[in-house]
């Protein structure tokens, strides 16, 4: 396949041309006046800037909660963000509804109107395009916190940033690998280049817009090296378009030494690669964490609390700036207000109590995890560069085709899905099937040994059946399935 997209900054004139088409997609596009918006952004207080809020949390040694929330009706959305901020939250994500994400603005409009009429939310998020800049500024002006849209593509991001949101949360590999069935990675990169370029445009004019980056999220038990490589790729793509603040959004998998190692390795390697490609002035103001939600079944309330508290504990010990803990309703459906409140109250207890102690800890084996992960991430990235002849984007597209970037249980038909992860006998995530992941033999042997160890301990073969058992372990108060 011939790819046309390249790791290269979009020319400004071309970009401004592209913008016209984007803004014409829906009437509220007219509300975006870029120069006025830049000015508006430059006058925002530090408390509304995602980068500065993150930096401040780092300086103060605090870990905050990074929730997920968004509701269609404006007044309700304002009430919601006020509740979150009153609960101490400083990074406020605005989850955009599924219709808007899928470019069905007409349908979103109807559902929004129906929501207003019936008083019942008929959309699973905030239809930012239908609301436009004026309304969305009301949301942002209602509280002291930094905003980021979730699931925003071109026009949605235009409106988000013009309204005063200060992070352009978007990740090509995340979109490609978790939300899309048929869309190509090339296409996903194109969309991100636009939003990154937009963030860069603001940044160049003195309004720092960060981008928080998920990478290819692990589905099930899967070591984080593919994810971290993806975070670095997406960050380099963003930096090339002028983004000067990137925030990795990592994923816990539940094994403390690994999770803490990953928290250290990811920003270190990210810094190295940013420097290597000349993005020395792109900063990493902090790291955000995500509780892996796989998969407490709804019935088990004690387990749901334990899981989220454990995640908060690891985030606090890892000194992350914020953590997305799943509510106790995670396995049951969309969380109620009460479930949000209870869950964050619980996690906040842990975050406050642990961070106040300024704990510095060493876990036996953490260095090994760091070393292994680092070697894996480097192997992937170097192979990507090789495939792309030095171009990260071209290389990534080829890498996915070749299975050099791969992930199990993926919705996208373009992903090889030839890899599998499994727990070892102490609960660490190991590769069971490497597919075409380009790891050195000694690294593969390390994984094989760990898997063999568990085979001996349990007296059975580690195979797909066990992978599935591992999936459900946390629902059964365990870290290892079986």
């Amino acid at each position: 396949m011939q790819t046309t997209v390249r790791q290269k900054r979009i020319d400004e004139d071309e970009f401004l041309e592209m913008r016209k088409a984007v803004l014409a997609e829906w009437p509220t596009g007219k509300e975006v006046d870029l120069e006025e918006a830049v000015e508006y952004q430059r006058n925002l207080p530090a408390s509304k800037n995602f980068t500065k809020v993150t930096e401040k949390l780092r300086q103060e040694g605090k870990t905050n909660i990074f929730p997920r929330a968004g509701t269609p009706v404006l007044e309700e959305e304002i009430k919601l963000v006020k509740t979150l901020v009153a609960a101490g939250i400083r990074h406020v994500p605005v989850t955009i509804d599924a219709y808007t994400r899928l470019h069905q603005f007409e349908k979103a409009q109807q559902a929004l109107e129906e929501s207003i009429k019936t008083g019942r939310p008929m959309l699973n998020g905030y239809p930012i395009i239908n609301h436009g800049v004026k309304n969305t500024r009301k949301v942002i002006e209602s509280v002291e916190a930094a905003f980021v849209p979730r699931g925003a593509h071109e026009l949605a991001m235009e409106i988000a940033l013009a309204s005063g949101m200060t992070s352009a949360g978007k990740s090509s590999l995340f979109e490609f690998g978790s939300y899309e069935k048929k869309r190509t990675l090339e296409d996903c990169f194109k969309r991100s280049q636009y939003t990154d370029r937009l963030a860069g445009y603001y940044t160049e004019r003195g309004a720092v817009i960060s981008t928080d980056i998920h990478g290819f999220i692990p589905s099930g038990t899967f070591p984080l090296s593919v994810n971290i490589a993806g975070i670095i790729i997406d960050s380099l793509v963003a930096a090339e378009q002028g983004v000067r603040s990137v925030i990795p959004l990592l994923h816990f998998n539940g094994h403390m030494a690994q999770d803490l190692a990953w928290l250290k390795v990811a920003p270190r390697l990210l810094r190295e690669y940013l420097d290597r490609f000349g993005y020395k002035d792109t900063i990493i103001p902090g790291v955000l964490e995500n509780q892996i939600p796989l998969f407490p079944v709804p019935q088990n309330m004690g387990g749901a609390f334990a899981y989220l508290n454990y995640s908060a504990m690891v985030a606090a010990l890892g000194e992350a700036q914020a953590v997305f803990v799943r509510t106790i309703d995670e396995g049951a459906g969309v969380p109620t207000q009460e479930a949000h409140a209870l869950s964050y109250e619980s996690a906040n207890w842990i975050l406050n109590v642990v961070r106040t102690q300024k704990i510095k800890l060493e876990i036996e084996g953490m260095e090994t995890e760091e070393r292994i992960t680092e070697a894996e991430v480097r192997a992937i990235l170097e192979k990507v560069l090789e495939l792309g002849d030095g171009d990260m984007i071209v290389g990534s597209i080829k890498a996915v085709e070749a299975g050099v970037i791969d992930s199990p249980f993926c919705p996208n038909i373009h992903v090889k899905d030839k890899v599998l992860g499994i727990r070892d006998s102490q609960g660490a995530c190991r590769y069971l099937e490497f597919g075409n992941l380009p790891f050195p033999e000694d690294i593969k042997d390390f994984h094989r040994q760990k898997v063999a160890e568990r085979e001996r301990a349990e007296g059975r073969k580690m195979d797909y059946q066990v992978v599935i058992e591992d999936f459900w372990a946390f629902s059964k108060n365990k870290i290892i399935g079986g």
């Binding site: 699973n124 978790s178 939300y179 589905s219 709804p298 049951a332 109620t336 249980f409 919705p411």
Partner: protein, 141 residues
């Protein structure tokens, strides 16, 4: 089984959750079924076409994002119109929106024409037994 029954799997509507249907597909394949796997983000019409084309015995649908009820209004009628009266309809996943009683889902989706409804903690081994049982009852195996 004397004959290898064919089943259609997939996640319906605009729902991108794919893990469950992937696991389910493999489990049924390993149990000796012929599985046509449509993956996530699959419109109802695609389920029907696939069932027609393969003369399927059952459709095993998943939904997690809470909008299954909307997605599936009129689905049973469409099946009838397509001459799929005899195809067993199973559904599983997270079928309601907020924390709720699974019994409500069961009633709701049975009304929508599904023969069996499964909760998120459904055991696939017993689901396989259920399907075998139902196919036997209909003289299909």
């Amino acid at each position: 089984m004397t004959r290898k029954p064919t089943i259609i799997t997939g996640t319906v509507g605009m729902d991108a959750h794919v893990i469950g249907t992937k696991i389910l597909s493999r489990a049924f394949r390993d149990a000796g079924f012929n599985v046509v796997e449509l993956g996530c983000l699959t419109p109802t019409d695609e389920f029907i076409e696939a069932a027609q084309e393969t003369a399927a015995d059952a459709i095993l649908m998943s939904s997690l994002y809470g909008m299954a009820e909307l997605d599936l209004r009129g689905f049973k009628d469409k099946c009838r119109e397509a001459g799929l009266d005899d195809v067993l309809l199973y559904i599983g996943g997270i079928l309601g929106v907020s924390r709720h009683d699974f019994k409500d889902d069961e009633v709701k989706f049975k009304k929508l024409g599904f023969d069996r409804v499964f909760p998120p903690e459904a055991d696939l081994k017993s689901a396989i037994e259920d399907l075998r049982h139902d196919l036997k009852a209909r003289g299909k195996i």
